[in-house]
Structures are given as structure tokens and as C-alpha cells.
């Protein structure tokens, strides 16, 4: 366990080395959220309710949705896994007394930990600027369920990344795969816009996939649009998906290692 803690710390510190990146990311996030806030404000200047959302609810969706998204992001770890396979660096990791899958998980935790720390800073600025336009829900049970959902959501996204990344053992180049699948995942999670704006059959369809539970469902719970009971069911669905994805990763890893050719070393 100690060695993985070291990997987490190392990943965190590695990102600290590039402070300009942090600044750029932060400014970019502020611009991104501000643009969305302005766009929705303009739309809501002409209508008071859109599919059950008021302006305040939509602002809350945008700001907190952005926060949840970055707190559970996989930060393109599929690319990292694929690179390890393509360049053969996986071989050097395989001979070390660590599990590669755990190593990647530790790196991802370090990465998201760093992002989380950065995002908090921006979140505080946004909350100060927009406090009168946001809904604050301090129900401890709801907050706990959301926290669980976001944490499981992070692991779901990570396992999804691992599945895509490990496909590099067979196809080498996976950029097209993760580009397309990430668009679908982002759309289904409700990160692009609330999926509540879409027809109901589509919403029901998205609830079959795990992505809506990483952002859309926690936000619905936060906004009080679904009950605590429905939130708990959401956690259950997430857990089922987590187990399924974990099984798939293990299966791919098992067969992938047999196929792995250690090219590039």
C-alpha cells in the first residue's frame, strides 16, 4: 500500500512542476463556465422555465456539474496506457513488484487529487461570484450519496479508460476510439447539456448506461428533482456497472498480456 501512496504523491508533485499549466487550466475553466452561464442567462431571459429547470437550477447545474465532472474525470488515462503499450514501457512496469492496473489507478488518483485541489480554488471564486444565483443544498444524506456517486463515477471512468487503453495491445492506435467514446460518454453523462432537455425515451435510455450516474443523476439529487431513495438506487446501478467494468478490465488484461509483444523496448 505504501508504494502506491508514493505513486499518488509522485503524480501529484509531477503536476505541481508545471505551474503555467495549472494557471492555463484554471483560466480556461473559468472562461468555460462563464460562457455557459452567459448563454443560459440569455436563453432564460426569454423563458422562465425550460423542461422544469429555472434559471437558478440551470446555473447550479452548470457550476456544480463542472465541479463533479472535474472531480471524477479520467484525464485521458487511456492515452497513457496505450502509450505504455505502444512504446513498450509496460514491460519495465511488469517486471517491478507492483500491479500495473493498481499503478495506473494510483496515478489516476494522484492526477484527480491534483485536479480536485485546483478545481476547489476556482470553485470558491465561482461560488463567491455567483452565490446569489445558485442553490445550496446542505442535506448531509444527499451530500453523502453525491460524494459516493462521484467517487464511484471516478472509478467507472477510470475502468472505462483502462478498457479503451488496453485495446492498444491489439490495435496499437486508439486515439479514434477514445475520441468517439469520450464524446458519447460526455454526452450521456449530461456534461454537454442537461439530458433532461431531450425526449423522455432518450433519458430512460441514458439511465441504462453508467455515465449519467457520474454527473446528471447526482445533480438531479442535489437539485431535489429525484428522491433520496432514487439516489440510493443510482448508487446501486453504479456499483453494478463498476463490477461489470472491473470484470471486463481483468478479462482484457488476462488475454492482453498473452498477446502483448513488448514492442519498442
Amino acid at each position: 500500500m505504501k508504494k502506491y501512496l508514493l505513486i499518488i504523491t509522485d503524480e501529484f508533485q509531477r503536476h505541481l512542476a508545471y505551474r503555467a499549466n495549472i494557471t492555463a487550466y484554471s483560466i480556461g475553466h473559468i472562461i468555460d463556465v462563464s460562457a455557459q452561464v452567459i448563454i443560459w442567462s440569455v436563453i432564460f431571459s426569454q423563458v422562465s422555465i425550460i423542461k422544469g429547470y429555472t434559471l437558478t437550477e440551470m446555473m447550479t447545474y452548470v457550476v456544480f456539474g463542472w465541479f463533479f465532472q472535474h472531480a471524477s474525470s479520467n484525464y485521458n488515462f487511456e492515452e497513457r496506457v496505450a502509450r505504455d503499450i505502444e512504446r513498450g514501457t509496460l514491460s519495465s512496469l511488469l517486471i517491478k513488484p507492483i500491479s500495473y492496473l493498481r499503478y495506473i489507478t494510483a496515478c489516476a488518483i494522484g492526477r484527480v487529487g491534483f485536479a480536485f485541489a485546483t478545481v476547489w480554488g476556482i470553485a470558491v471564486i465561482l461560488l463567491l461570484l455567483m452565490h446569489d444565483r445558485l442553490i445550496f443544498n446542505f442535506n448531509p444524506i444527499i451530500l453523502l450519496i453525491i460524494l459516493i456517486m462521484v467517487v464511484i463515477g471516478f472509478f467507472i471512468k477510470l475502468l472505462f479508460s483502462l478498457i479503451i487503453g488496453l485495446f492498444a495491445i491489439w490495435v496499437v492506435e486508439i486515439s479514434g476510439t477514445y475520441f468517439s467514446l469520450n464524446i458519447i460518454a460526455k454526452f450521456l453523462s449530461g456534461a454537454m447539456f442537461p439530458i433532461a432537455l431531450l425526449p423522455s425515451f432518450f433519458i430512460n435510455l441514458t439511465l441504462l448506461f453508467p455515465f449519467a450516474y457520474t454527473l446528471f443523476v447526482p445533480l438531479q439529487l442535489y437539485l431535489g428533482k429525484i428522491s433520496i431513495y432514487q439516489g440510493v438506487i443510482g448508487v446501486g446501478v453504479e456499483l453494478v456497472w463498476l463490477i461489470i467494468l472491473y470484470g471486463i478490465v481483468k478479462l482484457i488484461w488476462h488475454f492482453g498480456l498473452k498477446k502483448y509483444e513488448s514492442v519498442g523496448i
Binding site: 508545471y18 503555467a20 499549466n21 495549472i22 492555463a24 487550466y25 483560466i27 480556461g28 475553466h29 472562461i31 468555460d32 460562457a35 452567459i38 448563454i39 440569455v42 436563453i43 426569454q46 423563458v47 425550460i50 490495435v171 496499437v172 492506435e173 486508439i174 486515439s175 479514434g176 476510439t177 475520441f179 468517439s180 464524446i183 458519447i184 454526452f187 454537454m192 447539456f193 432537455l197 431531450l198
Partner: protein, 276 residues
């Protein structure tokens, strides 16, 4: 003497075009070595456009116009942005190659060649699959332009001006990206800066008239001139000749291009060739 200078200029342009052609052909060959990935990227691009259209359709289901823009007019802005974005990816790979070259010290190989290093660093990472972006945007454009009910002459004039303004938009976005990427000369790892470009440009997918705040409007017309990327070309295509807009767009494009060139050269003087 003048004639000789013109000849030399055209010879240089011809040379640049030949190199651009070779760079794009070799990138296409490289990308096609992984056909499955290439195909999936194209699918992803189609999906991206479809989702954007679905989003606009969803919000216009609740209102007839947003800041004076009707549904089909807003789609022209979307299509215009996608054309420029598509060209940025397909010809210069959004200057990803510049960041990579600085970070990995690969810029040396461009500096020693008898061709402008900025040009070579720009075109070496073109993403040919992004021509799909241009094609889908053109398809969208041809679907909505008939809704403008332009006469043949209007369509011709507005269309010609639209092309000029798209080129100006491309020039602005290229220059803006180059300035941001050149920061990498000081910071080495400039990949995070990509997030800044990406997030900033997201706003250009919408008509910039929605930014009613005066300070925000000035910001998006001068410091980060998003207005001139897609909104101005779309306005000219819809409403026709507008000297003020056209001249402003061309001037902003020129100023940004010269600024970016100066900044690139300034940055280049600080290049340390790390990890090369």
C-alpha cells in the same frame, strides 16, 4: 525589379503550397496506417456535430430567437465555426505539433531546414481525418442557407464575402493559437495551455451577440476576437455587405497575424532545445 520581387513572392508561395501538400499527404498516409482509428475519429466528428445540432434544436424548442438570432441563423454560426475548426485541425493540427516540438526538443529539426520553422512546425501534425469536420459543416450550411431566401446574385456576393471572412477567421484563430502555444518556450510543458484555447473557443460556437455586457463584447472583439471567427462571417452571409465588419475582420486578422509572428520569433530566441 518589381516584377522580379513579385515572381519571387509567387515562387515562395508555390514552394509553400508544395510542402503543405507533401506534409498533408504524409500525415494522411500515417493516419491511414490505423484505418480503424481513423474511421472512428470521423464517426466521432459526425457525432459531435449531431450533438451540437441536437442542443440547438432543444434550446430553440423553447424560444424563437436568441439575441436576435433565429434557429437556422444560429446554425450558420455553428457551421462557420466548424469549417474554421476543421481547417485548423486538418491543415495545422491546431498547432499541437508546436507544443510537442518545444516540449520534446524536436524543433531543432525544423530550424536547420531551409524553410520557415514556424510553417514546418505548424503543418507537421495535421489531422487529415478532420476534413470530415469541414464536410459535415458544409453539409449543414447547404441545408440552412436556402432558408435565408437569398437571390442568386445575393448568394454569390454574400458567399464570396463569407469565404474571405472565413479565411480572416482562420487567420485569427491560427494566430491566437500560435501566441498561446509559443508560451511553451518559457513553460516547456504547454499542453495545459490547450485547455485554455479550447475552453475559450467554445464560446465562438454561439453568436457572440449573446454577450450583452459591453466589457465582455470588447474583450471578445479585441483581446480574444471570437466575434470575427464565426459570428461576423455568418452575419455577412445572412445580411450581405457590411463594410465596417469586413474591414474590421481583415484588420484584426492582419494585426493578430503580425503579432503572433513577432511573438513566435521572440519565443524562438528563448528556445533551449531541451530533451533534444
Amino acid at each position: 525589379m518589381k516584377l522580379l520581387a513579385i515572381k519571387r513572392f509567387f515562387r515562395k508561395i508555390k514552394r509553400i503550397m508544395i510542402i503543405l501538400g507533401i506534409a498533408m499527404r504524409s500525415r494522411l498516409m500515417y493516419r491511414l496506417t490505423h484505418r480503424f482509428s481513423f474511421f472512428l475519429t470521423v464517426v466521432g466528428i459526425f457525432l459531435q456535430m449531431a450533438i451540437t445540432v441536437v442542443f440547438f434544436k432543444a434550446i430553440y424548442g423553447f424560444t424563437v430567437q436568441i439575441s436576435g438570432w433565429q434557429y437556422h441563423e444560429a446554425l450558420i454560426v455553428v457551421a462557420s465555426y466548424m469549417i474554421i475548426e476543421g481547417f485548423m485541425w486538418a491543415t495545422v493540427g491546431y498547432l499541437n505539433g508546436v507544443s510537442e516540438a518545444i516540449f520534446e526538443g524536436k524543433l531543432d529539426q525544423f530550424l536547420v531546414k531551409p524553410i520557415d520553422a514556424q510553417f514546418l512546425a505548424s503543418v507537421n501534425r495535421a489531422d487529415p481525418e478532420d476534413w470530415a469536420r469541414v464536410v459535415t459543416a458544409l453539409y449543414l450550411l447547404f441545408q440552412v442557407v436556402p432558408m435565408l431566401h437569398l437571390t442568386l446574385l445575393q448568394a454569390f456576393i454574400n458567399g464570396a464575402l463569407y469565404l474571405v471572412l472565413l479565411f480572416a477567421g482562420f487567420s485569427i484563430i491560427y494566430s491566437f493559437a500560435l501566441i498561446i502555444r509559443s508560451i511553451g518556450f518559457w513553460t516547456t510543458d504547454a499542453f495545459g495551455i490547450w485547455a485554455l484555447i479550447d475552453n475559450t473557443l467554445t464560446a465562438a460556437r454561439f453568436p457572440t451577440d449573446i454577450f450583452s455586457n459591453k466589457a465582455v463584447r470588447i474583450f471578445f472583439s479585441t483581446i480574444v476576437p471570437l466575434t470575427f471567427l464565426a459570428t461576423v462571417p455568418a452575419k455577412v452571409l445572412i445580411h450581405g455587405l457590411n463594410f465596417q465588419l469586413i474591414i474590421s475582420a481583415i484588420l484584426v486578422a492582419l494585426v493578430f497575424f503580425l503579432l503572433s509572428r513577432k511573438f513566435w520569433l521572440f519565443g524562438l530566441s528563448r528556445y533551449t532545445s531541451s530533451s533534444s
